[in-house]
């Protein structure tokens, strides 16, 4: 499965949900499919996308939050999985695209390439729903189930280590940040 195909397959379901992504290929590919004001791309601070998702999910429990994470980022903040599980936001779906490498810096293999299993780590941290999928239809099925489940879910999607030719897009970081904040707060009294 290619990550961009997985993103394209679930793209219609992102329309009315809050989306936070990590940097690099995930951000560039989702922008390539089509940026929306409800998408925020954390273009650095590796590991903190899931923490941002937790902060948003706790602040806005009535909204569903989707985090598109990666193996390299999760490995930098494994402790964050225990915090996620501890507060168990029912409105958070945590997708980890696992290409077993740090693609944007040259494809160096991560520890998932030698057997570290992020879904099992998430489960052992206490995340109530976890799965690993490697085919596109299995991914969309797991994603739909997670949205319907109404509970914290980590879906590890095994994807090919391929990405876009460039990672810098024409969306300024601060433009994205203020647009996203305005989107999040437009229905807050």
């Amino acid at each position: 499965m290619k990550r961009v195909d997985a993103l394209r397959a679930v793209y219609p379901q992102l329309a009315d949900r809050i989306v936070v992504t990590i940097m690099g290929a995930v951000a560039a590919e989702l922008q390539g499919i089509g940026h929306r004001p409800n998408f925020f791309y954390l273009q650095h601070a590796m590991g903190l996308a899931s923490s941002m998702g937790l902060g948003i999910a706790l602040a806005r429990p009535e909204r569903q939050v989707i985090v598109f994470d990666g193996d390299g980022s999760v490995l930098m903040n494994l402790g964050g999985l225990t915090t996620l599980a501890r507060y168990r936001p029912r409105n958070l779906v945590h997708v980890v695209f696992d290409n077993e490498s740090l693609l944007s810096v040259g494809g160096f293999p991560t520890a998932t390439s030698t057997g570290s299993d992020l879904a099992k780590i998430a489960a052992a941290a206490g995340v109530p729903r976890t799965s690993t999928v490697s085919a596109l239809d299995a991914f969309t099925h797991a994603f739909d189930e997670a949205l319907a489940a109404g509970d914290l879910t980590t879906v590890v999607a095994k994807v090919e280590a391929v990405g876009p030719s460039k990672f810098v897009t024409d969306l300024s970081l601060l433009e994205n940040r203020f647009e996203f904040q305005r989107y999040l707060q437009r229905d807050v009294r």
Partner: protein, 173 residues
Amino acid sequence: MSPVSTANSRLVYDALKASGVRLMSALPETWLVHLIRMAEEDPAMTLVRLAKEEEGVGISAGAHLAGVRSAMLMQNHGFLASINGIVSCAQLYRIPLLMIVSYRGEFGERDPWQTEGGGVTEDLLRALRIPFAYLDSPGHVAHRIAKAETLAHSANKPVALLLCRDLMWEEAS
């Protein structure tokens, strides 16, 4: 009886509440025990206990964008552990952070393991151009916290308040 001041912890807590803080992230340390307990017992406060302090930067960033004011409670070694998040999330994206940092390792410190971090804390805050002030006397706690919160939001950037031994520790040292 812990020599950590309950009364001054209450002053700090009440000032944070008065500044609109509704979410606190924390990693326990001796000087913060009363503040964390107050947050835990307050139904109007969301307390997030962390595995490592840098997570708190992401949580505060998310809460801020979603319209909830937050504060981070941490030891100065937790500040050291959070620096990449502070720079590449909060500063890069102009996120206000209210960091309440227990200033271990300054004059009067008896724990040898705290002394190295104490010696670099202020220089690092300056290097990162993070505005900071001391909380070292009960009389100025409320207005310094209110002013710090005001600057964090007008400048959209991190600010720090250093919880000092003279405020937090009741035993003569």
